[in-house]
Symmetry: D2
Subunit: 308 residues, 4 copies
């Protein structure tokens, strides 16, 4: 009666060579570290992967490497991030060809859309693929919040296999979780992307989490999940609080200097490099690099946390 997809599914960051091609060797090492830590799935080509910065060839390299390295031990979810249905459909076909276990799709963006059109978008994509389709609710990127009633309708109709909720709306998330339980939607997998309140989401009944910070400390999130699964929410809370402190690395670069995207992803990749997961922390353009002072702050934070 459990969902196939559950637990900690990190949205993998993408290590690059200096020319912005994927450093597949580092990516394999990074995935190995995640699997060793006990993660329950891998989310390739999510927002943390810099999917918005990756040309299609690089997206393919990421997904191929991820599927090959997972080697069936855990499911691989593939982000199919593009503006509207026909463009997303091409990414879905690639995900099928490369062996992903599920696809993850946002609301349309760039265009001024409407809930009826968002619903049609998911229905059309479900019709064209046998893969499970996850809805990805990320208004900070696509500027549309998924309507909870629509998500539930699509879950009941078997269109959606799951939800990754990165909207930051914890009450709206809880509405989905409660409705799932009431309506017996056992196979509908509900994941939070709110990496700073995972303990609360699990206590509410979420199936798992997709934490960007898991790239840096996968063992922490796995421990948090196992505590929650065992009903030890006090230990889960303490683990989340520890991870909350660690998250401060994402504000090493101040908002006056660069976007919150590059500050956060730059910090994750710098920390991954410092921990030996990847060789280089380069970000795709036009993102700006962290400077020496910012990197120093991150290094201190990691040392304090006992991670280096």
């Amino acid at each position: 009666m459990t969902t196939k997809f559950a637990g900690i599914i990190p949205p993998l960051c993408t290590p690059f060579h200096a020319d912005f091609t994927v450093d597949t060797s580092s990516l394999r090492r990074h995935i190995g570290m995640q699997l060793d830590a006990g993660v329950h799935g891998l989310f390739a080509l999510g927002s943390s992967s810099e999917v918005a910065f990756l040309p299609d060839a690089q997206r393919r390299a990421v997904l191929e490497t991820t599927v090959a390295t997972a080697a069936g031990r855990v499911p691989v979810l593939a982000g199919c991030i593009d503006m509207t249905t026909l463009r997303v459909a091409e990414h879905v076909r690639t995900a099928e060809a490369l062996g992903a276990d599920a696809v993850v799709v946002t609301a349309p963006f760039y265009t001024r859309t409407h809930v009826a059109e968002v619903e049609r978008h998911f229905r059309l994509l479900h019709e064209m693929t046998a893969l499970p389709v996850f809805a990805y609710d990320i208004p900070v990127a696509v500027h549309t919040k998924l309507d909870p009633a629509m998500v539930l309708r699509l879950a009941e109709d078997g269109v959606l296999a799951g939800l990754k909720d990165s909207s930051g709306d914890e009450a709206g998330f809880r509405r989905i979780v409660l409705a799932k339980r009431e309506r017996g939607l056992d196979s509908f997998a509900v994941f939070t992307g709110s990496e700073l309140v995972v303990d609360a989401a699990l206590a509410m009944g979420a199936d798992g989490a997709v934490p960007g910070l898991g790239n840096v400390d996968p063992a922490g999130y796995v421990a948090l999940y196992e505590y929650a699964l065992a009903g030890n929410f006090e230990a889960a809370r303490r683990e989340q609080e520890r991870l909350f402190q660690l998250y401060d690395i994402t504000t090493a670069a101040p908002p006056e200097r660069m976007g919150r995207g590059s500050a956060g992803l730059g910090a994750f990749k710098a920390a991954m490099k410092m921990r030996g997961f990847i060789d280089d922390a380069v970000l795709a353009p036009p993102q700006l690099p962290l400077d020496a002072g910012e990197l120093g702050l991150i290094e201190r934070k990691l040392a304090e946390a006992g991670l280096i």
Copy 2:
């Protein structure tokens, strides 16, 4: 001392077959109608083209057909609409290969960006191409307003060849126009995308306009431009007011029923079909089609305007 790019440059709508491949025959006919009306350039793959809905192969078909049909009589600007630098760069290379005369680029989207990163984006793209680069200011789509000081800095440095301003901020637009004049940036071409106040923009000193409604009534906008060029702003105003009334076709479908994107583009394409410019008014998914009542309203409007 005038810019190479000036006048009315319609952002071409893209006619489709039922399977959403480009109806190149209709597109050629439509372009012919635009050229016959005297337009001064063609903007392929702008927002009105449903560029956000077109897979790359269809984008290529549109641009190939546009360049071939223009046959050098007027310049062709190619929209290179994608999320960030490396993805845009691939569209720029395609535009070069297919013979476009300029490329048109927005701020990064999907990612949370920063003015320093937006500026880096334009600089990197300029470095990689010999084509003139136009900045496309369209916050309704990309959710970032271009900073006027940055636009002017890039114009002075020769990074930007022009601006298409669809921000709706007429005071900000005027700031650019006035600074262009003061600083002697003669070759920097400033176009408004605010199709309902083109007379005002031309009076302020704009080089031209990129009106979506020009797909339906190119002769109207050409007349408006010529009146303004001749200093007859009273006639320009009357022409704009006539076109303003015609623009009501874009609200035939109410906001409760569909997105403002599909209501507007659906109306343009329906009107283009009624005028015989294209064979079919189909919209790419997940946009919703207009219904019979809405099409009837549009037909009446066109008849009242003497356009059918």
Copy 3:
């Protein structure tokens, strides 16, 4: 070492006569019901009181009645809701004169403000009053989110005695709670206004909650709080889930028909009337009244919940 302010502090709704003067008899009865249910404080003139709709004379009537009815048994917090410092200051003086135990103040609104000005606003108001000052973080009303670093700075400087966080940003709320603990800000009282995730907020370490729905079911929120205080978060969760279902009354009136303010407050007041707390459910203008069908839905919900 505990804060003076803790527990469940409902933001009291304001019962009106038909002429929109305060029905003080109903208000006394309503407050009596709250006190009988065991609430730990009363928040008069918060957003749920229709404070934005109350002329100053009616605000005074509300606060006088609340202070008199509380009679020192629980502290009374008084909302001092106005656009900027000098106008708020007048409400603060009234609150002092009428015997409130604390004042609750938002960021400036109507004006385009800045974090340095928001900080100055709180500092100036603290300087002029001996009453404890609570910051009220409610961006949905004032369109400015309070900066967590500023809130903490003001807490450390003794400017702020507490925070009522109705921002819906649970991660930001947790940042405050954790910093309070780390920095030993024991007397700084941190309340959530997110009435649907109170169990999670208390688990994180919040001092209490200010739930609008507490007007309808104060005993539920008091039970929830006591479960949490006893460390029984499983029971707290079940109670919160029950209250979550009850909250559906706030969507009886659909968004097409009226504002989310009047739909929510109209539902609260209708339920309060059905439970016998107040005589009439009238809303201040220009809010629209619920219709018979909507009231029927609310009645069914209350009956299902065993509240009538």
Copy 4:
């Protein structure tokens, strides 16, 4: 067949003493300067007056002084700026008592409202006063854009006597102006608050403008209006361009340092002091004062413009 209200109606800034009471002597002198320059009306207690910062007693002082100084030579419009109907109603009664010629009212704010409630707001206020009611469209302050169809409905029903449009949506403004002409709403007065495109608004058919910058250079706006009235739009454009340059004073203080409200009003008041219109440039709290460098920039701009 013309409206009673037409021409340049400056939204008067409010000079203060050091204790933030109204410096009525300076206000009289300032109004005298405006009248000498030929303005066609006075808007007291608009946003530029710091109405959001003024306690009711100071609002009364402003309005009394304005009505007395105008002495019937030009009409006085009184801003009645508050959150909702009953609070606005009290300001309307004061305006009546003090002899204002019209009242100016925004959409409700602080509360989450709805177009049906906004419409009810204006209708209720119109019912309670014999004074002409102007709608004040200022989404930057109240976070609701007035619906053009609603504005026109209220104009046709005689509820609204006019509109002051500070929304920055010039196409929406033009829709109102054109509909006014088509429907013969001759007595409905349409004013733009977009002080940088007044020439364009007058060319479109606006009845006048309410320019904040008119506090600094009333003669400029009066000249602009007279050129437009005479059909000399070329001269109007040149005058507007001159005023556009002068408007740069509002960015002397950068956005990192203070809110755009205080930067703009601080600049206006500093310039008014430099021109001898008022004695002191103090701003009400919590706004921050301009520093010496910023004041120097403003002084240079005024000198360049020949205004000091």
